[in-house]
């Protein structure tokens, strides 16, 4: 097993500002992902975080709005830029641990409220 931590755990932000969320893993990781869970909805993949290169974004998500960095194998950041109330969601990082192929393991999430 591994410990996957996210910072901050929650935040309340003003419209038009940006928030950077960090994800740190204490084990070897092959893949990292960022998801969003809007209120009452399922989990939606935002992007795959690629080490040392640009993230791979899903349809409907763009780098200008959700810039992602992954400077090393076990750390990634997601920024939610120019926020609006519609960005109020839980943001989750997930990882595929070394030795696994199919299972993704999730961090505790960051609950974001935009006023």
């Amino acid at each position: 097993s591994a410990v996957i931590s996210q910072k901050p755990s929650r935040d309340i932000c003003q419209r038009g500002t940006s928030l950077t969320i960090q994800c740190q893993v204490d084990s070897q990781v092959t893949m990292m992902f960022w998801y969003r869970q809007q209120p009452g909805q399922s989990l939606t993949l935002i992007a795959t975080a690629n080490q040392g290169s640009e993230a791979t974004y899903e349809s409907g998500f763009v780098i200008d709005k959700f810039p992602i960095s992954r400077p090393n194998l076990t750390f990634s950041t997601l920024t939610v830029s120019n926020m609006s109330p519609e960005d109020s969601s839980i943001y989750l990082c997930s990882v595929v641990l070394a030795g696994y192929y199919n299972e993704q393991f999730f961090g505790p999430g960051t609950r974001l409220t935009v006023l």
């Binding site: 909805q41 199919n102 299972e103 999430g109």
Partner: protein
């Protein structure tokens, strides 16, 4: 286009009885299926998974059944315990592709 569907938004079961959560999918190329449990204010926790080459996988109180011809999988929890009360998500993937999640089913175990 929802490729993974959980048609029951909620389910209520008495403690000690069996809980059965259902999931349907449309993409016949999915070859791996997973169930996650999520408590409020926590990230999803991996529960159990099954490859498309199998029709059953068991882990303690949890059993997942896969019916490929019907494109249907189910999660059985026996016996159900109060700590099982949570939202359960099924997910599916095709090869190295991304996980696709269902909408979730809120399970409530009543004492």
């Amino acid at each position: 286009d929802q490729q993974v569907k959980q048609n029951s938004p909620s389910l209520s079961v008495q403690e000690g009885r069996i809980s059965i959560l259902n999931c349907d999918y449309t993409n016949s190329m999915f070859d791996y299926f997973l169930w996650y449990k999520k408590y409020p204010a926590e990230g999803p926790t991996f529960l159990i998974s099954i490859s498309s080459i199998k029709d059953k996988n068991e882990d303690g109180r949890f059993t997942v059944f896969l019916n490929k011809s019907a494109k249907h999988l189910s999660l059985h929890i026996v016996p159900s315990q109060p700590g099982d009360s949570a939202v359960y998500f099924c997910a599916a993937k095709e090869g190295a592709q991304k996980l696709v999640f269902g909408q979730g089913t809120r399970l409530t175990i009543n004492p």
